[in-house]
């Protein structure tokens, strides 16, 4: 298959073999499960249980709070002991509402609806099942998956993303090695749901075992294996970024601010596909995921299959973390992950990796030098932005100019900051600028809304006044129709004048 390339990107040391050396293990059942109501982009789920309720494994305990929202299920059986704010994995170390379950150790399942042949199902039914199973994109930001399964347009290419381009993370690698069959079954189901013409599974070339295992599984597929290609792509960070991957595989660029479906492409992560398979075939909601536990403070780096809601602390302990030397834990990879402020936070659906950093392995006060405009950042940017210009504008708080430089196309991949010889925390500046701009826009929106309300009120008052005048005129004898009309006309005119003086209302809500 012909492959394309994207501008920039960087070659990173992989650090994958540390955790792929050991087989997949199952994490022990924790005593408490902490389940945040919001584990994904979009609206938080709404609780369906109260404190004291007994719940079964797989039972829905919170329902979607809106269109872009996913339900939440009890990952094991037990009792709801609290619904309260707990620290969650979030860049700012926030707390958020969580349902806390004390497990009873029995792992009693709720009744599940199995389905041996997905082809019996309508695409819409499959989507609904996936929605009910609480499946979100397991590779990235955790966008509820069912939305992407409703393209409303012909899907030419369905891409399964098994690139896993960030260093250290190997959960998709292990999944493809050990459960290739499930991934491919999931792919068939998604293909059926979106009626895709052609499927590609993309795997970075640094995962030959996963590649062969997937190929092997595909060859032994009895049916439905046609029009599926398993492709090895060059290992270049961030080849696993959705837009970059689509470019590599199809040569097309998703328009700025647009979605892959505009190109007739839908992209899902391999782990999402496996979850889809389990949800449709066995009726299992998304209760667990594979998480890579690795880094230099871990005695036995490996991949764990763990229930969502398991405290990170316990996962670290399972893998023999030396807490005496532990400096930091990053959830996610070293390029885009977040530092956990608190190790009691739970594993969430999107938590693909726990990366530990040993004391002494981390530069404590990196020296930041001035930007020397060397352009290395621009060479590395996969979006072809000019990171040094974004940086100057962000520093100077020139938010108009920074938007002209397409700040919002920045995917925060970190390539620029990684290569910057002056060690400038560039992405931090972009995040700051983005949040400032969003804040300003929000305030402007509120101000517009208030102004519009004010104008509408003024108009209403003027109209009422005009009507009163008209009624008054009608009551008074001796005033002719002409005069009446003139009075009404004059009042309306005044109302109009006051409206145009305020400027035309905008409708950007």
């Amino acid at each position: 298959m012909k492959l394309w390339s994207f501008h920039g990107g960087i070659a990173l040391p992989g650090h994958k073999q540390e955790s792929t050396g050991n087989p997949l293990r199952t994490a022990p059942l924790p005593r408490h499960l902490i389940l945040p109501l919001s584990q994904h982009l979009g609206v938080p789920a709404e609780p369906l249980v109260s404190v004291g309720d007994k719940v079964l494994k797989g039972e829905m305990i919170a329902r979607p709070g809106g269109f872009v929202s996913a339900p939440l299920h009890a990952s094991s059986s037990g009792t709801v002991i609290a619904i309260e704010e707990r620290p969650v994995p979030h860049p700012s170390g926030l707390s958020a509402p969580c349902i806390i379950i004390e497990t009873d150790g029995e792992e009693r399942w709720t009744t599940l609806q199995q389905q041996s042949d997905y082809r019996q199902l309508e695409p819409a039914t499959i989507r609904e099942q996936i929605r009910q199973a609480g499946i979100v994109g397991l590779g990235g930001a955790g966008f509820p998956s069912y939305i992407k399964l409703n393209p409303g347009k012909t899907v030419r290419t369905l891409i399964l993303n098994g690139a896993e381009c960030e260093p250290y993370i190997t959960c998709d690698d292990i999944l493809m090695r050990e459960r290739a069959e499930e991934v491919l079954q999931g792919l068939l189901i998604i293909r059926h749901a979106v009626q895709a013409l052609h499927c590609i599974v993309a795997i970075e070339e640094n995962k030959p075992e996963a590649f062969h295992s997937m190929q092997h599984a595909l060859q032994h597929f009895s049916e439905g294996a046609n029009a599926i290609e398993i492709v090895s792509i060059p290992a270049r960070y961030p080849a696993g970024g959705e837009k970059q991957l689509i470019k590599v595989l199809t040569g097309q660029e998703v328009p700025s601010g647009g979605l892959p479906i505009q190109l007739g492409v839908v992209c899902h992560n391999v782990a999402t596909a496996a979850a889809v398979f389990r949800a449709v075939r066995y009726g299992e909601p998304l209760l667990s995921r594979i998480v890579t536990v690795t880094g230099s403070a871990i005695a036995e780096p490996c991949n764990l299959e763990a229930l969502t809601g398991t405290p990170v602390m316990e996962l670290l302990a399972t893998c023999g973390t030396d807490f005496n030397v532990l400096e930091e834990v990053i959830m996610g990879g070293p390029m885009m992950g977040i530092v956990l402020a608190d190790h009691e936070v739970p594993l969430v659906k999107t938590g693909n990796c726990l990366l530990t950093v040993r004391r002494g392995e981390m530069e404590q006060h990196p020296t930041v030098m001035p930007c020397i405009r060397c352009g290395k950042c621009a060479d590395a940017c996969p979006v072809s932005l000019l990171p040094q210009q974004l940086y100057w504008h962000a520093r100077a708080k020139e938010f108009d100019k920074i938007q002209e430089q397409n700040l919002f196309d920045c995917i925060e991949c970190g390539c620029c900051a990684y290569v910057c010889p002056s060690n400038i925390p560039l992405v931090q500046y972009y995040r700051f600028a983005k949040s400032e701009i969003r804040e300003q826009q929000e305030q402007k929106r509120k101000a517009d809304l208030a102004r519009r309300r004010h104008e509408q009120r003024e108009q209403r008052l003027a109209r009422e006044k005009a009507e009163r005048a008209a009624r008054h005129a009608r009551k008074k004898p001796g005033i002719t129709d002409e005069k009446k009309k003139a009075a009404i006309q004059a009042a309306l005119e005044r109302a109009k004048a006051s409206k145009s003086k305020q400027g035309a209302p905008t409708d950007d809500v």
Partner: protein, 348 residues
């Protein structure tokens, strides 16, 4: 290497640091500097050391006046590099005050008053040089003869005494030690109507392709520059475009009239063309930043060097050409902005 950061990324590329880049450039200059000193005497060494001393001193004074901490700025290597580049451009027997004024002006005005490293629109070394060229044209053209040509040489103490007090050992005059530079001779003689071949044969300063002795310095500069490209300290675009355009235009004129236009090789290997291409024009702070922009930028410098050498009032044009293109760099950057992913183009 992990680094403490408020937000991702949490690792940083260990291959590059601004300080490391500066010191690699300095390292790449050293062989040529050594050859230069070998050929032209102790004055070169004294110049370089004095320049570095003045540069670091001015940097320190300015940083404290601006209320900035000395570290890490003073140790970033940029002041040393500026000093070395300027020293390369000065005559080997430059008096101490000439070097001091040039370097101090470069650091104080052209760099620190603009806000220090990264904020200066013009190459500080070239500003320093041009200030000297405009103020003291005579001193700047008095070039010592390469050792192989001169019958008299100065030892260390004699050089020191000349540089710092202007006195020469009895019986020696400065004219016996110096001559005009090859580019200078070529220019004046061409103006007098002589042919290039004639001029090169008649004047002992010329070697096979350019000035005698200079060729070695230039070859070592070339080697240092290629090493910098290999190490990815600089990209190839600016040097290639600069030398390419200088070569092309000079070839054009040479082909039209070989009698009155020096050969392209003469242009490349005389004066500061190679130094400029690899070490001066590549100063990232003052150059264009995108690769296409760098090609325009380099080509512009090459062309301007040729124009100034051929028709301008000064024998060499590297400094003026670099400064002129420094001025153009923001515009070049503006017009060579890359197409952003997903914006227009054939795919977007």
């Amino acid at each position: 290497m992990f680094k403490k950061a408020l937000s991702s990324p949490h690792i940083h590329c260990p291959d590059f640091s601004t300080r490391g880049l500066m010191f690699q450039v300095i390292l790449a200059l050293l062989p040529a500097a050594a050859a230069y000193a070998w050929l032209f005497g102790w004055g070169v060494v004294i110049n370089m050391l004095l320049a570095i001393f003045v540069a670091l001193g001015s940097e320190a004074v300015m940083l404290s006046l601006r209320g900035r901490p000395l570290q890490p700025s003073i140790g970033d290597g940029s002041a040393i590099l500026t000093a070395m580049l300027l020293a390369f451009a000065l005559p080997p027997l430059a008096p101490w005050w000439l070097t001091t004024i040039g370097v101090a002006f470069a650091i104080v005005v052209a760099k620190q008053l603009y806000g220090g490293l990264g904020f200066n629109p013009f190459n500080p070394a070239m500003i320093g040089y041009v200030v000297l060229l405009v103020s003291f044209p005579r001193e700047l053209t008095l070039w010592s003869l390469p050792a192989s040509l001169s019958t008299q040489t100065l030892d260390l103490s004699a050089t020191l005494s000349y540089v710092f007090s202007g006195t020469l050992p009895p019986g020696l005059t400065i004219d016996a030690l110096t001559s005009a530079t090859p580019l200078d001779v070529m220019k004046t003689q061409l103006r007098l109507g002589h042919a290039t071949g004639e001029i090169m044969a008649a004047h002992p300063v010329f070697g096979l392709v350019g000035g005698k002795g200079w060729i070695w310095v230039n070859l070592l500069l070339l080697a240092g520059g290629v090493w910098l490209i290999y190490r990815r300290v600089i990209s190839w675009h600016i040097p290639a475009a600069l030398l390419g355009s200088l070569f092309t235009v000079s070839l054009l004129f040479y082909a039209l009239d070989p009698q009155h236009a020096p050969s392209p090789l003469f242009h490349l290997f005389s004066g500061a063309a190679i130094l400029g291409a690899f070490f001066i024009a590549t100063d990232p702070v003052t150059a264009a930043t995108s690769n296409i922009g760098r090609i325009w930028y380099g080509a512009g410098i090459g062309l301007l060097i040729f124009v100034i050498r051929s028709w301008g009032g000064f024998p060499d044009g590297v400094a003026f050409s670099v400064l002129l293109m420094n001025m153009a760099a923001p515009t070049i950057d503006h017009y060579t902005r890359p197409r952003v992913f997903g914006h227009g183009g054939k795919d977007g």
